[in-house]
């Protein structure tokens, strides 16, 4: 078992067999090559990719099909051999999410998704040539497009207000804690 200090989750214990290797790291973070996947919450579409080499670095990942059902990825033979991918069944694709101040504007990087090989726990960030995918794909806009088409419940303004309220509340609680700690 490996013990790692992380900024977000405190000290975590990682089983060697759960370690994910990114031999090329992530674009912009080539030296960080070992990660572990952490669940966010039950029923949550999000997962955390926590760096084991730098406890302060972690990324939120999501399966792009949850908001863009027609997303497809083209991989080059070099990428397939880098990951030692022998079957499409073994590949899992995830997108990194960026959340600005307003959660309504959260975006997924569909231009440079992560490809993981379930068999050997190797991963790689690849850059797609498809001009339709950008580095900042607005997730909620996409969700609205697809749910209203199917006639299902769309993301309501009410839900968004609720989210904002939850976040404001959480912010207030934290501020109060900070003030209390400073005394």
């Amino acid at each position: 078992m490996l013990k790692v200090q992380t900024t977000r989750f405190g000290e975590i214990e990682v089983d060697e067999k759960d370690i994910i290797q990114l031999p090329s790291g992530l674009i912009g973070f080539p030296e960080l090559q070992r990660y572990v996947m952490l669940d966010h919450d039950k029923d949550s579409p999000f997962k955390w990719l926590q760096s084991l080499d730098d406890g302060a670095i972690a990324f939120v990942l999501i399966n792009p099909l949850l908001f863009k059902p027609d997303y497809t990825v083209e991989v080059t033979s070099a990428e397939v051999s880098d990951l030692e991918l022998s079957s499409e069944e073994d590949a899992v694709i995830s997108a990194i999410i960026t959340i600005p101040g307003n959660p309504e504007h959260m975006t997924a990087n569909l231009k440079a998704p992560l490809v993981f090989n379930l068999k050997n726990r190797k991963g790689k960030q690849i850059i797609l040539n498809n001009a339709a995918y950008t580095t900042r794909h607005n997730i909620l806009e996409e969700v609205r497009k697809h749910t209203t088409e199917e006639g299902g419940a769309a993301v309501s303004q009410e839900m968004i207000e609720q989210v904002k309220a939850t976040q404001e509340e959480a912010k207030d609680t934290r501020k109060k804690k900070e003030v209390a700690n400073k005394k």
Partner: protein
């Protein structure tokens, strides 16, 4: 004679001339049309080659994404349905190396 200015090596080339980077990469000036230069890149298939601004954009996006706090996810998990059957993104393998002019 090549100049080095703050870590950037500046070379002047004519059409048909090239630049060798290490043993595996060669850049060739193929065509000059008005303000555009068409460059050919010879490299081993495992070398990643992309337009600089795209690479830079992704670096920046990763950098921003790395800052996400746990609190940013407060309350938003409900905005995206997860009860669909866990589907996997289909992947296609490129049959041949594309010319990349359409990027």
């Amino acid at each position: 004679m090549p100049w080095r200015v703050t870590g950037v090596l500046v070379l002047t080339r004519k059409i048909g001339e090239g630049i060798a980077i290490g043993d595996d990469v060669t850049i060739i000036v193929m065509q000059i049309k008005g303000k555009q230069v068409r460059l050919g890149i010879k490299a081993s298939p495992t070398t990643i080659v992309h337009r600089e601004e795209i690479y830079r954009k992704i670096q920046e996006e990763n950098r921003l994404a790395a800052k996400t706090a746990v609190s940013s996810l407060d309350g938003i998990k409900g905005l995206i349905e997860t009860d669909k059957e866990a589907q996997k993104v289909p992947i296609k393998q490129q049959v041949r190396v594309t010319k990349k002019d359409d990027e």
